[in-house]
Point group: C2
Chain length 116, copies 2
């Protein structure tokens, strides 16, 4: 699906997508939460609290709290690492995969509608 993405189209795409997310009033994630969620689902596992904190350049409590919030929404899950029980492995969930699938659809649909 080739899309002619210039400066103006890029901003328009962000505008349309964010507007629909806000208007629908469904799952409401902060920038950090969204960034964490996308990292978990798009980058290679395993994901730990410490690893995510380093990658996002934030402190560990930020990750813990974000995982708490997203865990309550069933978007991610946590599991102790059996090899080193100090570590926590962050895992994907069906609910989280579903949410990201819809998000991807939303972006693609808006990118397509962008063309004149």
């Amino acid at each position: 699906m080739p899309v002619d993405l210039g400066h103006s189209q890029a901003l328009r795409l962000l505008h349309d997508v964010s507007l629909q997310l806000v208007r629908d009033g469904g799952v409401d994630l902060s920038n950090r939460q969204m960034s964490i969620l996308l990292t978990i689902y798009l980058e290679l596992p395993p994901h730990t609290v410490r690893g995510l904190a380093q990658k996002l350049n934030v402190t560990k409590p930020v990750i813990t709290r974000a995982l708490d919030a997203m865990g309550d929404m069933d978007l991610v899950a946590r599991r102790r690492d059996p090899a080193d029980r100090r570590n926590v492995i962050v895992q994907r969930t069906v609910q989280g995969a579903l949410f990201l699938e819809k998000l991807g659809d939303l972006v693609v649909a808006n990118a397509r509608a962008l063309q004149p």
Copy 2:
């Protein structure tokens, strides 16, 4: 700048952009704030508190508070409507235009880097 934007590339683009925004730790806007800012700069003026509230499907205090916060950052400005002094006209600023320009560049650069 044609970009092959499928489902997977769309999510990857969101991931890369949001990750860089979080990592840089600069201007940190919520989804609602970002949505308001993009609406002000991409849609036709004039923009009023009430109009933005309707468009985003949120209450008026949400808009007032977002404008307070973004006004402190000089991303937007407010002015009374001289024709009907009950209204407040939301205006763009140099600082805001600059921020959105950089944001557009970021999206375009990441979209370009997406291609294999």
